[in-house]
């Protein structure tokens, strides 16, 4: 449990938390932030906070502030755990199975997407015991190609949508983007929030947009909501964005697009893991987390897995609830896996060049 969140929990009853109608009997329960007694259904317990722009703002600004120093110290100290031998082998295989193998370039070709699909199904063709990755992540126009490439394998196809990565398009365009991707067979949609609206305080607009996209996803596609934490400026904002996303029905909250200078860091991922833990405690609804961008080595990936286990708990140690958005990470994991299998350090000549 995070250092700062012990703190937050202890003082939660003292903080003004206008999260429910004043008459709510659970207000005095003194549970974690947002606790309003036993869950009665997805996010129902918190239904009131999204009733109006001002209610949502009151709720978000009533969330306990983030102790930035404590958060970073906690993330750094969890990064020093030594994971060796069998635990390391387990962690490497788990990390491989959690990867959303991603290609989001203007220069993507059908050939490249097919190659990526083949790699997703058999990450290491020389060792068929290597687990599959969780999904391939592509632009909407490549969904059909990707779907074909991973057909029959159980690897999912995720598509970024809503005018990724900037998100600066009219809502109609964003929704059309999502519907096209879902129609082409995408199993998961990665949307970006409207950071401009968020930073100017129009939280309900952000919320409404996520709700609309969730609706466009239908019942089949899971929705990942990207906050672009590198553009949110403060940890408090990341916490607020996380709660907006979860309240709006996100299946996953995701750090970043990978297109800006600062992407997933242990600290902002830790913060989001605490948010999903607290959200489940409050509502009974489990939400996944996906750090994306900048995770390139096995060592980094294992640090994130430690964060997951120590913060959200074992329930999240599964690719249904935790993902890595990455491309070069897979090669490093494969080289580490080969090292464990053969005892010899491997090299980039023994994995594919993407």
């Amino acid at each position: 449990m995070g250092v700062y969140s012990c703190y937050a929990r202890r003082y939660a009853p003292l903080v003004t938390m206008p999260i429910t109608a004043p008459a709510s009997p659970a207000d005095s329960a003194g549970g974690p932030p947002g606790t309003t007694g036993p869950a009665v259904g997805p996010a129902h317990a918190l239904a009131d906070v999204t009733a109006s722009d001002s209610a949502l703002r009151r709720f978000l600004h009533g969330l306990p502030g983030v102790d930035a120093v404590g958060l970073e110290a906690r993330a750094a100290s969890l990064g020093t755990r030594s994971i060796k031998t069998t635990a390391k082998a387990y962690a490497i295989d788990l990390a491989i199975s959690m990867i959303d193998l991603t290609t989001l370039e203007g220069a993507d070709t059908p050939g490249k997407v097919r190659a990526l699909g083949a790699k997703a199904v058999h990450p290491d063709p020389t060792d068929r015991t290597t687990p599959q990755v969780a999904a391939v992540c592509v632009y909407p126009d490549m969904v059909a190609t990707a779907k074909e490439a991973v057909a029959g394998s159980g690897v999912k196809v995720a598509s970024v949508a809503t005018a990724f990565p900037a998100g600066r398009a009219p809502l109609g365009v964003k929704l059309a983007d999502v519907r096209e991707a879902v129609a082409a067979g995408a199993d998961e949609i990665d949307m970006v929030i409207d950071r401009g609206a968020f930073l100017s305080g129009r939280y309900l607009k952000v919320y409404d947009e996520i709700v609309a996209v969730k609706e466009a996803c239908g019942t089949d596609a899971r929705l990942k909501v990207i906050f672009e934490t590198g553009e949110l400026a403060t940890y408090d904002n990341i916490r607020r964005a996380s709660w907006i996303g979860m309240l709006a029905g996100a299946d996953f909250i995701k750090t970043s697009t990978g297109k800006v200078a600062v992407n997933a860091t242990p600290a902002n991922t830790l913060l989001m893991l605490e948010a999903v833990r607290d959200f489940r405690a409050a509502t009974g609804v489990q939400v996944g987390v996906k750090p994306a961008g900048g995770i390139r080595t096995s060592k980094d990936a294992i640090k994130f897995l430690v964060l997951v286990n120590e913060t959200a708990g074992e329930d999240w140690l599964d690719n249904h609830w935790f993902r890595f958005g990455a491309s070069s990470l897979l090669n490093d994991l494969l080289m580490q896996r080969q090292k464990l299998a053969t005892g010899r350090y491997s090299g980039p000549d023994y994995v594919t060049v993407d």
Binding site: G343, R344, Y345, S346, G347, P348, D349, Y350
Partner: protein
């Protein structure tokens, strides 16, 4: 305690500034990842300094650095590589006294004999600096073939070379095995002699200030067998020079190196009693070169049988 008083008086005694010897990896001077050190003594057993006791992870990191530096170094013109090697000689000349002292302590030589060793080492850099843009004329060229083709062979660097530096000659021997490897565009991971690594670690400081890109030479100190074994087995190392390995170790390393078909430069029988001051020849240059041959059509031959 009476020193206190004398401090204010005549020539104040300075506290000595001890040098912390560190590894040279990727252009930086890290301590060993393992945090270990070992005691280095002079030939009479007096303590000189603590040197880092590298682990296999230091070796792994050094290979990553060497691989990263390889493309840039191999891509530089041979002429520029020659200039940089010459620059190393210039820098060494400026720190000659330091190296004379370190070599004298490490090998138990008199000052004049150590000076001769250092001078020879500096000259060795100049020798190999001259070879960088000449070796391709010696081992490459146009080949006569039976057909309407130009057939041209050029030598290219092998890649990342692990170098087990000689155990006895701590500086001249060291330079004699590093310089030929990098002269042709390879990058090197060097294991300094186990007993006397200090001149090698100081050489890192010279290389760092000689326009040599970081990672081209990486210098590790520690137990030779401990570091050399993972390097010989490492699949991202292209060649290994076994000069400083004893017979048993050399055999073991050669077996490990076979896995990814590394080029191996075996310790020659003469190397065991090697006279490092002798003319080095070109065999250390050519040991880590690959030959690329290009066939190019001459165009249609005229009635005279020549295209000209």
């Amino acid at each position: 305690m009476s020193d206190h008083v004398s401090l204010s008086g005549s020539a104040a005694r300075r506290l000595s500034v001890f040098k912390t010897y560190k590894l040279y990896v990727g252009g930086k001077f890290p301590r060993s990842e393992s945090g270990r050190v070992y005691e280095v003594t002079d030939s009479k057993g007096n303590w000189l300094a603590n040197a880092p006791l590298s682990s296999r992870k230091d070796a792994r990191d050094a290979v990553v650095a060497a691989r990263k530096a390889f493309g840039g170094w191999a891509g530089k013109t041979a002429y520029l590589r020659g200039q940089i090697l010459y620059r190393v000689a210039e820098m060494l000349e400026g720190r000659r006294d330091q190296f004379v002292r370190e070599v004298a302590e490490a090998e138990g030589l008199s000052k004049s004999k150590a000076a001769a060793q250092v001078d020879a080492a500096i000259d060795r850099w100049v020798w190999y600096a001259g070879w960088t843009d000449k070796i391709s004329q010696v081992v490459g060229g146009g080949n006569p073939v039976a057909g309407p083709f130009f057939n041209l062979s050029t030598p290219e660097p092998t890649g990342v070379v692990a170098v087990v530096a000689p155990q006895e000659s701590s500086f001249l021997g060291l330079v004699s095995v590093i310089a030929p490897v990098i002269a042709t565009g390879n990058t090197a991971v060097v294991i300094a002699g186990e007993k006397s690594p200090l001149p090698a670690l100081s050489l890192g400081e010279v290389l760092a200030t000689s326009d040599l890109p970081g990672g081209v030479v990486n210098i590790l100190s520690g137990r030779t067998a401990e570091i050399a074994t993972p390097l010989a087995a490492h699949r991202d190392v292209n060649a290994i020079d076994l000069t400083g390995a004893d017979e048993v170790l050399a055999k073991e390393l050669e077996i490990a190196a076979a896995d990814n078909l590394k080029r191996v430069l075996r310790p020659q029988p003469v190397d065991n009693v090697v006279d490092w001051t002798a003319d080095p020849g070109t065999h250390r240059l050519t040991a880590f070169l690959e030959t690329k041959t290009v066939w190019h059509p001459t165009g249609s031959l005229g009635p005279s049988g020549s295209s000209y």
